[in-house]
């Protein structure tokens, strides 16, 4: 047992690494269900073939209205489209009583961030996919994970627990904003984006 010390040292390190890289993320994030299942693909694909901004609208004053209100759903879903249980629930629990659907928003930024979709989409000519990935093509809503400490959606930090951005980038932390702003020679001032 000449290498007992080294063995113990390495096993201590190994246990810590497993705890840190595997167990910790599981403990840090809480998965919350979405209130309804939703397929973006069913809306953007055939036959509906809607574009992003047919539901995620821009108001005249330049504000982005974000997740559509239930009245917008009601335009098509006043009565169940199809026979699924989800459709039935949508109509009975939300559309008819005009109750807003409590969606969990993957990309919800904190209250102190000001992000104008209008500026980025209309002036900056960014595509929705550049930040939101292929969310618009998804068949179903992936689980929403919330950080137990900070209360942020996991999408802000990005899927990689190390914080090293994946390619294509999926994280939504400030350094990603700043990187793009620096690249495109856009404002770097704090209150340009903080409210």
């Amino acid at each position: 047992m000449k290498y007992k010390g080294l063995f113990l040292f390495l096993s201590g390190a190994g246990i810590a690494l497993v705890l840190g890289w595997v167990v910790f993320p599981l403990a840090l994030y809480r998965t919350e269900p979405q209130p309804l299942s939703f397929s973006h693909k069913a809306h953007t694909g055939q036959p509906a073939s809607m574009s992003c901004d047919s539901c995620h609208e821009f108001a005249e004053d330049g504000r982005f209205l974000g997740i559509p209100v239930v009245d917008q759903c009601a335009v098509c879903h006043a009565e169940p489209v199809g026979k699924t249980a989800g459709e039935k629930r949508l109509v009975e629990e939300f559309v008819k009583p005009k109750r807003e659907i409590p969606w969990k928003v993957y990309s919800r930024q904190p209250d102190n961030a000001w992000f104008s979709h209008t500026t980025h989409v209309k002036k900056g000519a960014l595509k929705c996919e550049e930040c939101h990935g292929d969310h618009g093509q998804s068949e179903s809503l992936r689980p929403y994970q919330v950080n137990r400490i900070s209360g942020y959606s996991r999408d802000i930090w990005g899927p990689n627990i190390s914080g090293i951005p994946s390619q294509p980038r999926l994280d939504m932390k400030m350094d990603r904003c700043l990187g793009c702003h620096a690249e495109k020679n856009m404002s770097q001032g704090c209150i340009s984006c903080h409210k």
């Binding site: 047992m1 113990l8 040292f9 690494l17 209205l65 209250d111 900070s150 209360g151």
Partner: protein
């Protein structure tokens, strides 16, 4: 041996784990997340989310009638501003109105009927029910018969002229011996005297076209009338020149902005007015038709010359030259002489108001452009005149039930005024109020009504306005379940008092009828807040259309009223009671120089509305804008004469009692005068159980002439 775990082995394991941890995301992510947690924790509220919209309405906190535009998130107001181009307030609000949407969350909000167990300091707040009130009312019917002369049932209406006021008056008209009361009015005191002198109702100030204003302490630039209207006349790029002469004992906010400030000794307003009248008569500055139109010209002239100018100058503390100059300045152009006083001090005494009204007549200001012009009432007022009996004119100890409606703060008049009118022992006060105010705390029953912006209300003609106006205050916030609409309470009270079958129309119906009446008269214009412009009522077709526009913040304004044919005046009254009163005032010896006088001071916007929004505490506690209630200001010499050299706690004593106050030294004050700041109580730590108190106003007894603004006082170190 080698299989034993030694201490050294444990160190090795721990060392490895520590290294492993450092190479894992744990410490770094925890550091980051804990920092984000501090930015995001639940101790800071989350922001509301939703579509942004603008909703227009009217402010009903005071009679000013300002149009408000509310920025809303998800339909919920989060910021108010004046409606742009609004004909009444020109897009401006006062500081209190700006936070009007916060009233619903007032920490002193009353959510159920309640009462205090007594008037003592340690009395408790207990629940009271509407049923208990109604049964006590019906019980009292047997003992008093509901027909005591002098008014056994009184309704004190802080906002006369509303449709609810009509309903009150209708109810009272069927109850013998009842009386409809209005609280002392500050801003229209001059107009009220002119009404009595001329026997004609309906007057307004034509500030927009006037050249010279002589104001006897009216806080013109501190919330008078509709602040936006006054501000527009004074400050907005306007080609018309304006001279303001402010006669007041200290350099108030208004005096600072005035072209000339006359440091007038308190209580000598009537003397100055009569001295000015004397100069006008002496120098032949009255228009020629005035002597003909005044019935008692000779008597008045005699009275005006009673006190030599030099004597008047001494009494008022002004140089003779100043009096002469002011008289000439007033006569030389269109002018208005305006009586008033600091809102904390209530109305100017009636003798002074009468003298000021007479001065306007001598100057020929009545029915002249830029003077005091005719103003017809808005259509649809109906059977009852909005004017009630002033509270001070009711016989003492005659009222069994005093019902106080809306916006009564307890800082606009001393509670002793109310107290003296109540019957001994049996007198009861019912206060309809959304918040706990000193007056509510004093009541026997507090009935919660909807808070500001929670119910459909109306706004009538603001004080001193040149033309009548009418608009709606559409609710911007949902009503709370427990609040009671006064209109629903009236028939119940009427029935309890033995007169069933009271008015039974809904609030909306009542207001719709009024709107229809205005529409039917086809006069005036209606302002469209969305367009920022007004259109003639006669061009609008449907009543429904008109109603909807009013609900969206529209405002009807009457056309200018044509001048009345030469009005005749009786300056000193039919039986000439004013000759004696004015004489007494002119011959009254001046106060002795070492006699301190206490003058209550306040801020109209804060003392006139039932309560103040919590945010107002910033102005009182954290800036130099306003003095906290309970502060007494004095010139250092004044304090020195009382043996006090530094700021701090002092005791004030008047014939009404004694009280502790915070002395602040202010060399800007007239020596011998103490300014006692009254209301509002802005302390955020207030709870319903510890009701706000009346404060220094309790030291100010109501004089025979109905005023309480000058009280001899003593001050000593606490």
């Amino acid at each position: 041996m080698s299989n034993r775990i030694t201490r050294r082995n444990l160190f090795q394991l721990a060392g490895g784990s520590a290294l492993g941890m450092l190479l894992s995301p744990v410490p770094w992510k925890l550091l980051d997340d804990s920092a984000i947690w501090t930015q995001n924790w639940s101790l800071t509220p989350k922001l509301p989310r939703g579509p942004i919209s603008i909703r227009n309405s009217h402010c009903t906190l005071c009679p000013g009638g300002c149009g408000i535009a509310a920025r809303c998130v998800g339909g919920h107001p989060y910021g108010l501003r004046g409606t742009g181009q609004h004909p009444v307030n020109s897009g401006f609000l006062c500081a209190v109105g700006l936070a009007g949407h916060h009233y619903a969350y007032h920490p002193l909000r009353i959510d159920a009927p309640c009462r205090f167990t007594g008037r003592e300091e340690d009395s408790r707040l207990i629940p009271a029910s509407l049923e208990a009130l109604l049964s006590e009312m019906s019980g009292s019917r047997n003992s008093t018969g509901g027909s005591r002369p002098g008014g056994s049932i009184a309704i004190l209406d802080s906002r006369p002229g509303r449709s609810v006021s009509q309903a009150y008056q209708e109810m009272l008209s069927r109850i013998p011996g009842s009386v409809y009361l209005t609280p002392p009015s500050n801003e229209e005191s001059t107009l009220e005297e002119i009404r009595q002198i001329s026997g004609v109702d309906g007057w307004g100030f034509d500030f927009e076209n006037t050249h010279t204003i002589l104001s006897f302490g009216a806080p013109l630039l501190d919330g008078w009338g509709t602040p936006g209207r006054i501000a527009r006349r004074f400050f907005h790029r306007s080609p018309k020149e304006l001279i303001l002469i402010q006669a007041e004992s200290y350099r108030s906010r208004t005096a600072v902005q005035a072209s000339r400030w006359l440091a007038l000794r308190p209580g000598t307003e009537a003397v100055l007015a009569m001295a000015l009248a004397q100069v006008l008569l002496q120098d032949g500055l009255c228009p020629t038709d005035i002597p003909v139109r005044v019935a008692d010209w000779q008597e008045f002239k005699e009275l005006a010359f009673r006190l030599p100018i030099a004597a008047a100058a001494e009494k008022t503390g002004l140089p003779v030259s100043a009096i002469v100059e002011v008289a000439h300045a007033l006569a030389g152009s269109s002018s208005i002489v305006l009586g008033g006083c600091d809102p904390g001090g209530g109305p100017l005494d009636r003798t002074a108001s009468r003298a000021i009204a007479c001065l306007n007549i001598l100057l020929g200001n009545i029915d002249q452009p830029g003077g005091i012009i005719s103003r017809r009432e808005a259509p649809g007022v109906g059977l009852h005149s909005p004017r009630g009996l002033p509270l001070s004119d009711v016989a003492d100890h005659s009222i069994r039930w005093m019902i106080i409606d809306s916006a009564a703060s307890g800082y606009s008049f001393p509670l002793s005024l109310l107290q003296h009118k109540l019957m001994h022992d049996k007198g009861r006060i019912v206060c309809l109020s959304p918040y706990m105010t000193p007056i509510a705390a004093y009541a026997d029953y507090i009935i919660p009504t909807p808070a500001h912006l929670e119910s459909l209300e109306e706004v009538g003609t603001p004080p001193g306005a040149p033309a009548s106006s009418w608009g709606l205050s559409a609710p911007l916030l949902p009503r709370t379940a427990q609040s009671v609409d006064p209109l629903d309470l009236i028939p119940k009270m009427s029935e309890a008092l033995g007169f069933p079958g009271g008015p039974n129309t809904s609030r909306q119906e009542l207001l719709k009828q009024r709107a229809a009446a205005i529409m039917a008269a086809r006069q005036g214009t209606v302002f469209h807040p969305g367009k920022g412009a007004a259109v003639k009522v006669s061009t609008r077709t449907g009543t429904g259309d008109f109603w909807n526009l009013l609900l969206e913040g529209g405002c009807w304004v009457d056309d200018p009223t044509p001048p009345r044919p030469a009005t005749r005046f009786t300056m000193l009254g039919k039986e000439q009671p004013w000759r004696e009163r004015l004489t007494a005032r002119l011959e009254q010896p001046g106060p002795s120089p070492d006699q301190l006088v206490l003058m209550p001071v306040g801020w109209k916007n804060a003392t006139s509305s039932g309560s103040v929004p919590p945010m107002i505490s910033k102005l009182f506690q954290e800036s130099d804008c306003r003095s906290l209630a309970g502060t007494v200001l004095a010139h250092p010499d004044t304090a020195a004469s009382a043996g006090i050299s530094s700021e701090g706690k002092v005791r004030l004593q008047t014939r009404s009692g004694e009280m502790e106050a915070d002395l602040k030294l202010d060399p800007a004050l007239m020596p011998g005068v103490l300014h006692g700041a009254v209301g509002p109580c802005v302390n955020q730590a207030q709870t319903l159980r510890q009701a706000p108190a009346e404060g220094l106003l309790a030291l100010c007894p109501v004089e025979e002439d109905g005023s309480w603004r000058i009280t001899p006082a003593q001050m000593k170190k606490a």
